[in-house]
């Protein structure tokens, strides 16, 4: 016997009464999620210690833009190699002539830059104040989003792929393969995820890539179980028999009939998983075992705030709010996805 799937809380089960409110909620959650992703992608354009455009020694430079471009996923490495922009080799803050042309980002500070006195209150210069080492909180928040979004999205992509492959193989092949995959899933589930992640982090050291790998490679189990259960029950369904009876091949049945059915709950689980990954990363960073002290993260900010919880409790607000809102968005979106991907309530209602 295998344990039934871990189900996320099923919220708002009565449809008719709450549909309007949910629509509004979902839209704002989606808007916030998109904002977070955009902020993460365009972080240097919003907060950076270099200007967006500046004139240095008679030439125009685009320091923040080139930095943004080289951080983009997939194409970033091409930007770094091909260098379509002039990459600056100067520090704009000190080397730029005072009246030279320079367009600064809205928050003209880097996340690790000490720009003011420690623990400034919010002001026009520092919208959310500064932390104990005089770094701008807003700039750190914006760059913390980079880490959270990257960890959340990439680790769940990894977990999704591993989970679908292993769970799908187990559910579709059955027999010995199923037995082995099930044992593997069971073994992985016996380790509390955070323990395993901590231990592995000791071996591989700090770094965003390491975190993504570790979270991805420990969080796939629930996905795999979901996909396996979906495939197993799918194999028994009449429509799969019908497909077999008109000569469809195993691959066709798996990809066309079973996978779409499995994909919907997987997507839902992955959306909830993004929240978990963000939480795991922040927890690791809080312990000082995350991406390292040289990168701004929400967890790290939280740790700084914790160290001064008696003297400057206000420092907690920004990272707490950021983590809470992103987690809440993931939950709301996941819940909405769950309803809209169910063919019985989703497609039908929107069509007729």
């Amino acid at each position: 016997m295998t344990i039934a799937n871990p189900t996320n809380p099923i919220l708002w089960t009565d449809r008719a009464s709450a549909s309007k409110r949910r629509n509004w909620l979902t839209r704002s959650a989606a808007a916030i999620a998109i904002t977070f992703i955009l902020v993460a992608l365009l972080a240097p354009l919003l907060a950076w210690h270099q200007p967006i455009v500046c004139k240095y020694q008679g030439k125009y430079y685009f320091p923040a833009i080139s930095d943004t471009a080289s951080r983009l996923p997939l194409v970033g490495s091409w930007f770094q190699k091909a260098k379509p922009f002039r990459f600056p080799s100067f520090d704009a803050r000190t080397e730029l002539e005072p009246n030279a042309f320079a367009l600064w980002p809205p928050v003209p500070y880097g996340p690790m830059e000490m720009v003011a006195d420690a623990n400034c209150a919010a002001s026009r210069a520092h919208w959310l104040g500064t932390d104990d080492r005089g770094r701008d909180v807003l700039a750190r928040l914006i760059h913390g989003a980079c880490v959270s979004v990257r960890v959340g999205v990439y680790s769940m992509l990894l977990a999704g792929i591993v989970g679908i492959v292993i769970g799908g193989a187990a559910g579709f092949c059955g027999g010995a393969i199923d037995w082995m995959c099930s044992r593997l899933i069971e073994i992985m589930m016996c380790f509390p995820a955070f323990f395993l992640i901590l231990v592995v982090m000791v071996w591989i050291g700090n770094g965003v890539t390491g975190i993504i790998l570790v979270i991805g490679l420990t969080q796939w189990t629930s996905i795999a179980r979901l996909v396996r259960a979906e495939f197993l029950s799918g194999r028994e369904l009449d429509f799969v028999d019908a497909a077999r009876s008109y000569g469809a091949s195993g691959w066709y049945i798996a990809l066309r009939h079973l996978l779409p059915a499995a994909l919907a709950p997987t997507l839902v689980a992955l959306t909830f998983g993004v929240a978990d990954a963000i939480l795991l990363e922040a927890g690791l960073s809080w312990l000082g075992l995350g991406v390292g002290a040289d990168v701004a993260t929400w967890g790290g900010m939280l740790r700084d705030a914790y160290d001064q919880i008696r003297t400057h409790p206000g420092l907690m607000t920004a990272p707490c709010a950021a983590i809470f809102i992103s987690v809440l968005c993931c939950h709301i979106l996941g819940e909405q996805l769950r309803r809209s991907l169910d063919p019985r309530i989703g497609f039908g209602e929107s069509r007729s």
Binding site: F239, D241, S245, Y246, S249, P343
Partner: protein, 344 residues
């Protein structure tokens, strides 16, 4: 290969289109799979022989759990056979195992709703089989689908709908269209109307009968309802616990059942009169532990020691020319049974 060449080859009508011989299917008993020395197997189908002439319609009748659905799935190749062969026009389907020979047998499932992917529209459901039809070019697909839907009497307007938006009768029409779109020679209908309302039942049955006759399809019609079988089948085979206990022309079986079980099946139809008729007591025995000898003996009022000791085999009754066969040691004593039931 077109249909005309087939029929011209078969100059003598005797050559059966579908021939099933000595078919055995069994499953591992899930309840006792583990740690039990005598890990028993459930014998779902136990040595079934059937043969169908082209254009014939055979009704397979029996209570639920008697193995008739398993037999259908075995013919379709959906469950592995223990023993026996399924031959189409004389060639073993198992051996050739090519897709095109498999496609000549199609099936209509009991639960039309479950037999359709809920994420596909009617059109894509009916188109799906054509992807595996090597003879059908992509451009012909729409036309073939439209033809099949029309044949099944499905409203063209609704082809963009999803299964859950259709009524039971409409869904069953889609199922018929999907089975017919490959232009099969044999269609197996597994209780196609048992999930429907009475009025929808009549419509679908009429449609099926019509299609079967105009297309001269060979059809196996599985049902638990003798009335339905009588309405559209020209031959009947009665199954009990994995074996065929009686087979023959429909009218013959309805008028003169030779097996006690068939006798009770046909009495049960007369619901209004059951008060006057003795009924079959008890439930079908479990296929995990079938009774020794004749499987029906624990419920049979005319059993003798012979029934317990020896399993009867299917044999012709009365005049050797008749196709009426029965597996009962005492088929001649069936008259006694009729007396018991009517006098009580």
């Amino acid at each position: 290969m077109t249909k005309s060449t087939h029929t011209s080859q078969e100059t003598e009508r005797q050559a059966p289109r579908l021939r099933i011989s000595n078919l055995h299917v069994s499953f591992a008993n899930r309840a006792h799979r583990w740690l039990q020395r005598n890990a028993s197997r459930i014998h779902a189908v136990h040595g079934v022989d059937l043969s169908l002439q082209p254009g014939a319609c055979l009704g397979l009748v029996g209570e639920s759990g008697c193995g008739k659905s398993t037999l259908a799935r075995a013919i379709m190749g959906l469950v592995p056979l223990d023993r026996g062969t399924v031959a189409l026009d004389g060639s073993d389907v198992q051996c050739t195992n090519s897709r095109s020979s498999r496609q000549r047998i199609q099936m209509i499932f009991q639960h039309a709703h479950a037999s359709m992917n809920p994420r596909m529209t009617v059109e894509s459901i009916v188109t799906d089989p054509l992807r595996f039809d090597d003879r059908c070019r992509k451009s012909e697909r729409t036309q073939r689908v439209a033809g099949a839907l029309q044949l099944a009497g499905f409203d063209e307007q609704l082809r963009g709908r999803y299964p859950h938006e259709l009524s039971g009768g409409q869904l069953q029409r889609v199922a018929i269209a999907r089975a017919l779109v490959l232009e099969p020679d044999v269609v197996i209908c597994d209780e196609p109307v048992s999930a429907l309302d009475v009025s929808a039942q009549a419509e679908i049955l009429a449609q099926l009968k019509d299609i079967q006759q105009t297309r001269s399809l060979t059809m196996i019609f599985i049902t638990h309802d003798l009335d339905i079988a009588a309405a559209i089948c020209d031959r009947l085979a009665v199954m009990y616990l994995g074996r065929i206990v009686e087979s023959g022309p429909t009218a013959e079986i309805l008028r003169h059942p030779k097996h006690p079980y068939t006798h009770y099946l046909s009495t049960a139809r007369n619901l209004e009169r059951t008060g006057g008729l003795a009924q079959l007591e008890g439930e079908p025995p479990s296929p995990t532990a079938p009774p020794a000898g004749c499987a029906f003996h624990p419920r049979c009022p005319i059993r003798t020691d012979q029934c317990i000791a020896q399993t009867p085999s299917l044999a012709s009754t009365g005049q050797p020319s008749s196709q009426h066969q029965v597996a009962c040691h005492h088929s001649d004593r069936i008259v006694e049974l009729q007396k018991i039931t009517t006098t009580d």
